[in-house]
Every structure is written in C-alpha cells, then in structure tokens.
Subunit: 462 residues, 3 copies
Amino acid sequence: MTDTATNMRLKLPLTCFILEIIIIILFGVLVQYDKETDAKKWHLEKKNENKSDYDNDFYYRYPSFQDVHVMIFIGFGFLMTFLQRYGFGSVAFNFLISAFALQWATLMQGFLHGLHDGKIDIGVESMINADFCTGSVLISFGAVLGKTSPVQLLFMALFEVTLFAVNEFILLSVLDAKDAGGSMTIHTFGAYFGLMVARVLYRPNLDKSKQRNCSVYHSDMFAMIGTLYLWMFWPSFNSAITAHGDDQHRTAMNTYYSLAACTLSTFAMSSLTAHDGKLDMVHIQNAALAGGVAAGTAGEMMLTPVGSMIVGFLAGIISVLGFKYLTPILEEKLKIQDTCGVHNLHGMPGVLGAIVGAVTASLASREVYGDGLEDVFPKIANGDLSASTQGFRQAISLGVTLGIALLGGIVVGFILKLPVCGAPSDAICFEDNIYWEVPEDSPSHGDQLASVRTEESEKLNS
Amino acid sequence: MTDTATNMRLKLPLTCFILEIIIIILFGVLVQYDKETDAKKWHLEKKNENKSDYDNDFYYRYPSFQDVHVMIFIGFGFLMTFLQRYGFGSVAFNFLISAFALQWATLMQGFLHGLHDGKIDIGVESMINADFCTGSVLISFGAVLGKTSPVQLLFMALFEVTLFAVNEFILLSVLDAKDAGGSMTIHTFGAYFGLMVARVLYRPNLDKSKQRNCSVYHSDMFAMIGTLYLWMFWPSFNSAITAHGDDQHRTAMNTYYSLAACTLSTFAMSSLTAHDGKLDMVHIQNAALAGGVAAGTAGEMMLTPVGSMIVGFLAGIISVLGFKYLTPILEEKLKIQDTCGVHNLHGMPGVLGAIVGAVTASLASREVYGDGLEDVFPKIANGDLSASTQGFRQAISLGVTLGIALLGGIVVGFILKLPVCGAPSDAICFEDNIYWEVPEDSPSHGDQLASVRTEESEKLNS
Amino acid sequence: MTDTATNMRLKLPLTCFILEIIIIILFGVLVQYDKETDAKKWHLEKKNENKSDYDNDFYYRYPSFQDVHVMIFIGFGFLMTFLQRYGFGSVAFNFLISAFALQWATLMQGFLHGLHDGKIDIGVESMINADFCTGSVLISFGAVLGKTSPVQLLFMALFEVTLFAVNEFILLSVLDAKDAGGSMTIHTFGAYFGLMVARVLYRPNLDKSKQRNCSVYHSDMFAMIGTLYLWMFWPSFNSAITAHGDDQHRTAMNTYYSLAACTLSTFAMSSLTAHDGKLDMVHIQNAALAGGVAAGTAGEMMLTPVGSMIVGFLAGIISVLGFKYLTPILEEKLKIQDTCGVHNLHGMPGVLGAIVGAVTASLASREVYGDGLEDVFPKIANGDLSASTQGFRQAISLGVTLGIALLGGIVVGFILKLPVCGAPSDAICFEDNIYWEVPEDSPSHGDQLASVRTEESEKLNS
C-alpha cells in the first residue's frame, strides 16, 4: 500500500526536529553576532574608528537583502505553482526547505569562509549569502518538483548546501574567481546538481501522472507572480554583495537591461516556435528570466549597457529553444525528467553567464576600470593576476562547478532513492493530496485521484 | 428581512464620511510636518547643525516602513483570504479599516506621545507607528472575520486604536518598557482584544454557516501570499523603529533566525498532529509566523542567534498545538469563535515574546551591551533602573496589556452589538454576497446562498 | 478566417526582433554609464571631490526605484487581470510592452534631457524615469485592454514613449514646470492618449464580446494584488525623483495620507452609488488609487498633511462618480470604450492633480519653504520666476499635455488600425485564446469561444 510509504507522520517530524536541534546546538557553540550586529563591538568600533551608523553595512545591503528574500520565498515559490494540483507542495515545500537551507548554509558557509577565534560571525552579508545558497537548492527542487517527498527534499538540501559551500569556497577563495550574482555558484551548480538527482530518480512510468503534469488557467496566473518578482528583483540579486558605490549601482543597471532585452527575445521566440504563433506561458514564465542568470557573473564588470543587452537577448533565445527542443530530448534520450525546465532557465544561461564573465574578466584593464579595478578585480589591481589569468580562472571555475554538481547530484540522488524517504509512486506524482490535507473543492480531481489510487493498490495487491 | 439590517447604503457612507471629515478637521487643527519633512525646518537644521541629507530619518527607516506597509495591506489582507467565499471582504475590509486606522492612529499616538507647541509632528517614524497600531486592529479583525459588517469594523478600529495608544503610552512612557516589535503592544493586545470582542459577539448558530467557514484550493494559495509577505518582512517589522546601527541590524537578524527555526517546528508539529501525517495548510499559513511575534520584544536585545532560534522553535510548537487542541476548546467551552485562530498566532506567541523580553531585559548588563546599552535600555544605562527592575516592569507591562485588552474588548464588543451596525445573521456569515456585488461565476455557491436566504426569511416570517 | 489576421507567428517575432536590434544598435552607439555607474569615473569623482560611497545616488534612490518597478510590473500588470479570460494577456502583454518601453524611453528621454558629448548617460535616475514613462504607456494600455494585438501594443508603446518624452521635455525643460509624481506627464498624458486611441479603434459590435468583458471571483482577487501594490508603493512613486532629504520624505508622506483619505471616500461613494448599498470591486480596485494620482504634482510641495487628505478625499469621490456615471456616457455618446476606466483613475484625478499643483505652486514663498525653496522651485528661489508665474506655467503645462495627448492619440490610433497589426475581431475580444496557448481547464469557456468562432466564420463566409 502506497500510503504507508508516503505517510510522513513520523518521518517528517523526526527529520525536522533532528535537523533543527542539530542546528540549534551548532549555533549555540559556534555562531555569534559580527561586529556590526553586536551592541558592544559596534559601539566600540564607532568610537575607535570614528564611524557613523551609516557605516554599518545594514544600510548598504538590507534593502537588497529583502529583495533577494522575496525572490527566494515568493519568486521561486510561486514560479513553481504552475502545476494544477501541486500548488501547496510548490509554495510550501519551497518554504520548508528554504527555512532549513538558510540556517544550514549559515553554518557551512561560515566554516569555509573563515572562522574568527573559532566562531562564525554573522550579519546582513551572511544572511544574503545564506539566501543565495538556498536559491541553488530551489533550482534543484525545480528539476524534481512533484516527484519527491518533503523528507527527500530536506536531505537534498542538507547535502546540496554542503557541496555548494565547498564549490563556492574553491571558486571564490582558492581560484579567486568573481561570481557576485552566481551564474556559476548558484545557477549552473543548482541546475546540473538537480538534473543529476532527477536522472538518478528517473521514473519510467511517470506518464501515469502526466494528466497532472501541466497547468490550469489560474495556476499559470499564480506562477506569473513568481516570475515577475524574480524578474523585478534580479537587479538586487546580482548587486546584493558587490562592492559599495558604483559596483552595486552598475550591477543593478546591467541586470535591468539584460532582462529587458531578454524579455523581447523570449516573446519573439515563443511566438516563432509555438503552435499557430500563439505564445506559450511556460516560455514567458521562465525564459524571460534567463537574462538575469546570464548577467550573474559579468554584471558587476564593465560589461557596458549594450553588452548586457546582447547577453540578455541571447539568453532568451537559448532558453526558449531549450524548452522547445532540448527538454524532450533530455527526457527521452538522457532520461532526465526536468519538471520546471531548470536546464533551460538556469543551466544553459548559467553556462553562458560563466563564459561571458570569463571573457569580460580577461578584458579588464586599469584603463577601463580606473581605481575601481580594486573593487571588482582586487587580484588584477594588486598585480597578483593578469587579466587573462583571471579570465582563465573564471573558465576553470565553470569546469569545477560542473564537476562538483554532476558528481554530487549523482551521489545525492542515490541517497534519496532510499525507500525510507517516502517518495510517491509514479502514478501519484504532481499531486498535493499525498502530503497535504486538501480542501474538497475539486470533486473531479478528487475522483480522478481516487481512481488512480484504486488502480494502483489493485496492482500492488495483484 | 435580513437585507434591511445588512444594507450598507446609508450606514457605511455616513460612517466613512463622518470619520474622514473629523480626521481632516483634526489634522487641519493639530498636525504639522516634523522638522525632517518640513522644507524650512529641515534646511535650517541642516545649516545650523551641519547635517547631510542622509541624517534625515527617511533614509534610515523608509525601506523598513515600506516592508511594514506591505505586511499590513498584503500580508494581513491576503492571509485572511483563505475563506472560500470571503476573499473580497478579507482583503478589502482589511484595506478599508487599515486606511482609516492609520489616520486615526496618527492622531491618537500624536496626542499621547507628546505635542510640540500644541501640534502633532509627523514623519516616517510616526507613519511606522501608525501602521503598527493598524496591525493590532487587523489581528482583532482576524478573530471576528466573516462575522462583522464594515461599519462594525470601523467602529472597532476607532475604539481599539484609541485604547492601543493608551496602552502603548503606559508601557513605553510610564513603565519605560521596551517593545520595539510589539509582542505586547501589538500582538498580545490585538489578540486578546479581538478574542473578547468575538466572545461578546458569540453566535450560537454559527454552524449554519460552517460550510463556508473553510478554504478551497485557490483560496489557500492566495492566503500563502499573505503568509509569505508577513514571514519575509517580519525582520523589517521588528527592526523598523529600533535605534540606528547595530540595533536595527541585530533585530532584523534575530527575527530572521527565529522565523526560520519556527518554520521547521511548525512543519514537524503539523505532520505529527494532523490526520495521516498529512500537513495542514492552516498551520503552515499561521504557526510558521509565530517566531516573528515571539521575537517582538527581545529581538532588539542581545538575545543571541541561538536564543532567537530557540524562541522561534518553541513558538511554532505552541502555535500548532493551539490550533489543534486549544481552538476547539475556546469555541466550545469559552464560546470564543476565533475565525483565524489569532490566539494561536498572536495571543500565545505574544505572551511568550513578552516573557522572553522580560527575562532577557533582566539579564542586561554593560558587560554584554557596552555603550550600546544606552540605545537598548537607556534607563539602565543612566542608572535610573536596574536590569531586574527593567525585567519586572516588562512583566508588569504584559499584565497591563492583558488587562486593557480584555476589558476594552468586552466594552467594545457590546458597542458593536448595537443592531444599527448591520451585522450579518448567523446563517450568512463568511459570505461576500452580503456586502459585495459578487460576479456570477459560482452558481453552486449562489444557489446555496439563495436557499440559505430563503430559509432564513421563512423563519423570520414564521 | 480570423485566424490569419490574428496569427502572430511572423508579425510578433519580427516586430520584437527588429525593435530590439534597433535598440541594441542605438545603445551601442549612444549610451554609456554615467559617472556614478562607471567604475573609473566614480572613483575619480570620489577622490577628487572627497565623496563617500553613500554620495552615490544609488543609495538615495534604489529602494524607491524597486518600489516603482513593482508598481509597473505587478501593480499595473495584475490590476488589469480582473477580466475573466484575459489574465495572460493582461499580465504578460503588460510585461512585454514594459520591457520594450523602458528601453526605448531610456533612448528618447536621453536624447531630450541632454546628451553629454553626444552620449546618453544612464544610472538609477534614468531607470526611474524610464519606468515612469512606461507607466504612461500602461495607462493607455488600460483603455484598449482586451481589444488589441501585442503588435499593436508594441507600436503604441513606440510612438507613445516618443511623444511622452517630447511632452515631458516641454513641461520640465521649456516651461520649468514641476511634476515629480507625474499627474500631468504620466497620468493625464497616458489617460487621454489612450482614450483617443480607443476612440479611433472604436468597435461598434463590441457587445458580442461583452460576456467576457467582466470579472469572475478569482480574477477580482488577482486584480486586488495589483491595486494594493500600486497603493502601497505610490508614496515611493511620487517621491522617487524629488530632491534628497525633506523633499523625498515629505512627498512620500503627503501621498500616504492622500491615499488613506481617498480610500475612505471611495468606499463611501461605492456603497452610496452601487446597487443595494453593496460595494463594487471595480471602485475599490481603481478609485482608491486616485489619491496617489492627484498628489502627483503637489506632493513634493508644502501641501500640508491636511491638504493632501483633502485632495485624496476629493479624488476618490470624483473617481467613483466617473465609473458610475461618466464611463457609460463616454461609451455611448463619445464612442470611447475604456476597458479599465482609465479616465476615472488617471484622467480626471490627473487633471485635478495638475490644478492642485498649479494652485499650490502659485502660493509658494520663501517664508514657507525657507532654503528648501531652491529644491522645490529653483526658478522661484533664484528670482527667475514669481510664484504666480510658476503657477501659471503649471496650468499651461496641463493644456500642453492635453493637447499633445489628444492629438497624438488620434494619429497613433489610425496607425494601429492598419490591418497588418492583427487586431482581434469584435466577437473575440477579451479572450486569451487568440494569442495564447490556454490550458484546457475551462471547457465551458472554450465551448463558448468555439461557438463564437463558428458563428463568426459563418458570417464571414456568408
């Protein structure tokens, strides 16, 4: 009987409680206010260094943090509500794994980005970084949406956050790569990790659930809320942790124009490729965002406004083509069932963003950046690296990211296959009823599900 | 005939016009720009005190104000749209009473927080305080949701804002209590006031409307918009009026971690207590927010990150248990029909927050806070109060709040019982059709209502 | 056959690609980072003028920009989703034309607001101005909503943005008028331009589509998301480009109180004029916003809090009366089919705002504004203009705006009539199915449409 397998009564509470108690213990032992959130330290610093309250990083970054926060919880959460019977799971599992991942990311990133006297110092920048890491997990969630239990999702988040922090450490601290908006660390990593998990969790009989693997009119409207919040706040996402002043300003503006150009190429390609010249909501909801992904690495560089537009323009084209032609191939040939098409929104545009970043970095010079070179490329500015070496390291970083994501995704996929995780069977995917008390307002759907269940238990009994 | 009683044609316009005209007259007589919104005064101050435009409080607080504003209008408004046939009433009465309450609160708080030469000075901080006071009214609205006319709601707001201002004055100005995020002033007050109003307005035959006192699939999705905006922006809520610098920064971060921990304990408890281990949307929509309420008083203190998490963790557990076991008892034994379960989201977590605040305050010391002690506990810093006295006064403040809320709620409840207010009858609660032109897209519901009305008028005629 | 005319397969991709490629070429030739987004220039300026990163305008304006951005994409987009079968078109055509218009506006406003060495300098202020100009196009979109193809909308945006920039240039640079929140430049212009376009595109047989020209329960809920975001963020809209310090602070606050008062008069008037005293969602969704429009010009002036309230109060009354009594007259007598009632929300309140602005400006004095006079009325402060001349010029500006909008709208309307634009026929207006792949969840609507189409093709064949 399926019900036993997917029953969460003990599994989910145990998982949540154990994870949260471990986090609380580790926070108790390891985490402390940084010098800008600690009352005593901040007032000492203000006095000793003659600072004003505005020097507290809170005022530089908190508005961007809140925009990023909205992208994580509303943006990703509602983008995934397009499925007709998986709205609760989309928005609320997104909520659950984000709330977990941001705590775990604080610890993992804290370990790797350097302890202070054996302690992890936290403040608004670590909060942004924790949200960024969470974003990566949510991208992977998109690949397995509707086919996983909340326990599987929590385990995926646990391992993915850890690997994310390792990859991020290698890129930013070992290779000195730049990736402020995370084309590599967040998007490429999250997408290819999630695709590998989906590959390992391949479901040969998923077409039994295909009648629910599509949208209805209202679910597409809910999804547009997610799309638009991601689109509007992407300038804040890419600029949230860039250097103060021109860097944050330029990054936000580059992203703004990249997204605008991407939106036009997305509409054009959707109409060009879809049936009868009609527009396809899937493209608008997803591909129009590819411009933000592709500007993730180079957005803080002197990409120029026109450069940003060209990047966004190409990203939109690539992304729609991916939805139209690549996703079916991935599913049929490579057995990767990518529910949300994260390969098209985060995978390919992330790789494009990494390449654009490598090229742009290799062209950096003091002539173009002036003294601003120290903010964007400190290693070039102080002579440790040449621009071409920086570019080369950016390219290496893409390779490292792909390697860790692909390998990590396979390993974690196998962990999630353990029967104890309570995955739904192929015939009841994309269905809230498995894990949620669903109000009885859609008799037709209810009946449909009931019949599916009966069928299935008959099979199991036979 | 019910229609006469609930017909708003004269009552609502009259109430709105009279209230607004009184407000306009009082604003004309009493209210003026403060020295940061007045062109002349600000430029004088800039010149005389050698200030920059950044010293204008607008730049410290306006982003937080906007987040709070979203919580009031979208957060509370959509959180209450979970009812299947009360979406218009939820979001639009929320809109109406908020627009009124924030104006009235400006006057009431202005009177009590000190006039300047007989005038009320207003600026961004008074706007935040007005929104806070409005939040308290919306909490009470949650307790009586679906069972009140807009005229009743406006009267409730009128009296509740006034009592809120009195209670706030006693707490902050007489008792020198600290309550930046309003665990006491906003949440405890709003919840127990609303519960008492609901008690006085007890409807013995409310089960005639019970078929509409529940959600449908899409209304639960709309409610999640409200939940998530409250959750995401709660760090801004608690930090909106704390001192500049480390205080705002620390308060926001404490709230962030409290909410994250609360979300995990909420999912755990929901699965543990609900039928078949399935998750219950009511818990996710509400209890996951209890961590923000419970960090309302102590959030600005040196609660530590782990302390914040423990508080949030407990708040989630208490809140789910309240929904599961206490709400039915309140209804059956105490005759309190609490539509949204505000006792579980704001009542108990508010009391928890007040207690945590009292304990944390009683542990305050210059050793921990350094010179920051002056910002958080000015009376302890200048030697007027000992830490234990501060803690004691925090505890007294909770008692005062409960006393004023309970007594005030009873009195106001009896005022709202006056037939002139146009309350709906027991059989047509939770129904937009009474006060709204509802588009004719749900014949089944329309029929249902029509039959209810017929039944009822038959009864009235017999 | 209708399908050929409305088939977008070639038209829409070609239009999007050509427009975007033109934009990219013009950006490549003409557009550069301004001195606050360019790494080299900013660091030079910091060094030479001893500035801090906070002097970068990004920190003064970016939070307001993001609020404006949300108003454009979520606010306008969802406000127009009230139609039962035009949700995709409302939110996604809004998305498309905004993404185009903001790029085109950057160029048009850049040309007219002054080139620097033959280049257009861009930064956060130009981004806000581009979004503002986009808002004007969206207002016009509201007048023709559901009756136009995406190609028509892109052409309308192309021409309207251009005329907007010309009108804005005349008002702000030639006439030295003040209009920070755009009562004239944005609202009056957008409304009357759109009304003229609607007049030229008059559809005598539009009643064939009237069964879809109304809302359903859920579409009204989606529309409230748009309403509330517009309402909440309007203070940011009006203050986004006012001078730093008291000006931004005062403008935001004036708008806040204007909107609050407007909301009460809107509810009052809706109940007073609607059937049986029931409230009408159309009024709440629209008229409650008129207070923001009407405070668009005078919001930055010393309008006083009570003055702001009176303006908002009147705007709400005028707007509801317009919806109730004027819209039917416009349609029947003047043959202007104004889908969203933009005349009531943006037209009349915009004119009111212009008049209030002219009167308030004519009362300006150094006695009231102190040294702040230089920020609000630099020409009065330096003696170039008297206050009464400023007021007179404000009034002239309203006339110029009306003239350009009305004439421009007529001309552009005739351009949009060209058959190549692919407008839907009268019988299939307000219907997503024409331009969108719509999921098959509403058989009744589908059937209805199918029968409409059959009818129509029969007619065309006969």
